[in-house]
Amino acid sequence: MNENLKHRIKARILKALHLVALFIAMAIICVPGLWIVLNSFRPTVEIMAKPPVWIPSELNLDNYRAMFGAVGEGGVPVVQYFTNSLIISVTSTVIAILVGMAGGYAFARYRFKGKAGIFIGLMLTRAVPGVSLSLPLFIVMAKTGLIDTHVGLILVYVALNVPFTIWLIDGFFRQVPIELAEAAEIDGCTRWQAFWKVEFPVARAGIASAGIFAFLTSWNEYALASQLTRSTFSKTMPVGLRDFTSEFTINWGGMCALAVLMIIPALILTFIVQKHLIAGLTFGGVKG
């Protein structure tokens, strides 16, 4: 009886500790982000106030209104930036996933000479510092006329994301026992059918997370985009953030407002893809 009670108390304490730890962790994650959201509704003078203003005296949409307003009065071509970002990120993500699936499958399922070498070689393409890549890339793009176009950035982001997607998807395909696919083939499926019916559903979780990563990388990339875009025709939102800085000033409130516009779609997409991530996992239920 006493033993039992002790055990139950211990379980309760553990549970409470778990919740407290979870709460603290989530708070640390959220506060710097929510601070941005809050600042987007406050006038700059209050954000920069000294002594600090902890309880906002007024929240308004001025920063947003100004951002959508006319150029010269605080306006920034947000809609164009948003469209560019969306087109570029979505297209490059889809392509990167397809290319990555093919590559990941090759590494997980085939044995061939120099496999480790090729694999590392592919991965290392990502090891190149963006700074040393950006100028030669710019020259190549300039020669091929891809500067300031969607296609140019899409190509770059596919290349940026492919090593990552291959690696991730490879890892997930490896979790699927090869016997499963072989069994399907014995049952009369072609390798292609076996892939879609058996391996793909199981690896779907991996593909979903690779997709999120690829999308977020493209959505948020700045260094290369700032080099390869020039005008509203292809500028993406991270580059647009720079519109709020000028030689002497920085419009922090406005920047926060654009940041919020950047975060919301990413947040929504992540939330949606979560569902598929779960579905992919529960559907398979394959024991390793």
């Binding site: 920069m48 010269g72 020039r230 509203t232 000028s246 030689e247 000033t249 920085i250």
Partner: protein, 435 residues
């Protein structure tokens, strides 16, 4: 055929062009690509581009709009890749000397009268050698001293200062006084005596001003470093003393212009050497806690008795590779003509045309603050000089600023820091074959 036709037309309209009035349909069918500086304070002017388009029949396509640092990077990339099909670019006197071959000499495309209407010092700073590589717009920058008025009116302050130093408390006229008063006013961490830009080209520019005010020079005639001198040491010591005394915010070595402006606007800085662009912001109750309490004074003098102003201005340039230089020059002329400068300077920035200066001063009559600002900056402008006009200026600043910071933060002594910086700059100049 068509080209010569355009040229003939040009000749015929040369006079009207010189007056800044382009002939109708003069540049029909021409499209100019432009790379302009973006940012709220610069954009209002671009609305006038459509008027020029209507007047001349040409089209302007803005293919890039970024801040100056990003534009600078873009220009360099363009030079590297040879993507120079565009015609008109925003330029800045501090950056211009880095790309001596990018922009064409505007002199053949403008009348001497047009050029003479600008402030001569600004024209001089727009030249590389004899080539006029840009026309200045109404964005001239030189610094003056902003201060909080109430702390000078406070009786307790006056008495305490008198007791401490034996002098009356007045807005400072020399850098020595700035130091003394800054230390006196400081009540860290809530209130600081002053602050200074602490990194990149900015701190080197401030150091440059101070060296000259102390009677020294940054470079010798042959571009060998000259700042490792007694004047240089005194200049750097000033920054070090303020930092050691805690009279500047401890983060000052990470500050750039935006941090400084926001700092003074937060009402926690007593004295602030800063740019004219902030004048309106500082006195705007919606943006600044110091509003209504801002005084402006000409920059203080150094121990040599000289006042010095490291200055810069924005302008527009035409590329050497531009196919339609006449049209491009006409656009540049339009964007810097009297009406354009009046439009821009109405929002606060300082003009670079003599007539517009008079106009601005006249229209500020009755506005005490604006008049005070203009007087201070007009005085400051008379002590102004541009950044050293060598292609290696920016690179040299990148060698110098970490050493200045090291001295300020106490990592090195003033002597060591200047020694190291001078050696590095010397090596750079020799490597580049300057001497």
């Amino acid at each position: 055929m068509k080209r010569s036709g355009i040229n003939a037309l040009l000749g015929a309209t040369a006079l009207s062009m010189a007056a800044g009035l382009a002939g109708a349909g003069e540049f029909d069918g021409i499209t100019l690509q432009a790379k302009l500086i973006g940012g709220q304070q610069y954009e209002a002017l671009y609305a006038r581009i459509s008027e020029w388009e209507a007047a001349t029949g040409a089209k302007v396509e803005v293919i890039s709009k970024k801040n100056h640092f990003e534009l600078d990077k873009e220009f360099k990339s363009d030079l590297a890749a040879g993507t120079l099909g565009w015609c008109v670019g925003s330029n800045h006197s501090s950056f211009a000397s880095q790309y001596p071959n990018l922009y064409t000499d505007l002199t053949p495309y403008l009348s001497a009268e047009t050029i003479a209407e600008f402030v001569p010092a600004n024209i001089a700073a727009s030249k590389i050698g004899d080539a006029l590589v840009m026309l200045p717009r109404a964005q001239f920058d030189v610094s003056a001293l902003y201060y909080l008025k109430d702390i000078y009116e406070d009786e307790a302050n006056k008495a305490a200062y008198k007791e401490k130093t034996g002098k009356d408390l007045m807005p400072p006229d020399t850098w020595e006084e700035v130091k003394e008063q800054a230390i006196f006013f400081t009540d860290a961490p809530n209130f600081y005596g002053t602050q200074y830009a602490g990194k990149d080209e900015a701190i080197v520019g401030r150091f440059y001003e101070m060296v000259v005010a102390e009677g020294g020079q940054l470079f010798n005639e042959d571009w060998s470093p000259a700042f490792n001198s007694d004047a240089g040491k005194r200049a750097l010591q000033w920054f070090v003393d303020l930092y050691e005394a805690g009279a500047v915010p401890p983060g000052t070595t990470s500050y750039l212009w935006d941090d400084l402006g926001q700092g003074f606007a937060s009402g926690t800085i007593a004295l602030n050497l800063d740019w004219p662009g902030w004048a309106g912001f500082f006195n705007d109750p919606a943006a600044s806690k110091a509003a209504g309490n801002v005084g402006v004074k000409v920059q203080p003098a150094g121990s040599s008795g000289a006042r010095t102003g490291w200055s810069g201005h924005h302008g527009f340039s035409v590329t050497e590779s531009c196919e339609h230089k006449e049209a491009a020059a006409s656009l540049v002329d339009w964007l810097t003509n009297e009406d354009s400068q009046k439009l821009e300077s109405a929002a606060g920035p300082l003009p670079t045309r003599s007539a517009v200066w008079e106009h601005v001063v006249a229209s500020a009559e009755g506005d005490a603050y604006r008049t005070e600002v203009l007087q201070a900056f007009q005085a400051a402008a008379s002590h102004a000089f541009p950044a050293p006009q060598t292609p290696y200026w920016i690179e040299a600043t990148n060698l110098i600023f970490p050493e200045l910071q090291a001295a300020i933060l106490g990592d090195k002594t003033v002597e060591e820091a200047l020694e190291t910086a001078a050696e590095a700059v010397d090596e750079l100049m020799q490597e580049e074959g300057v001497y």
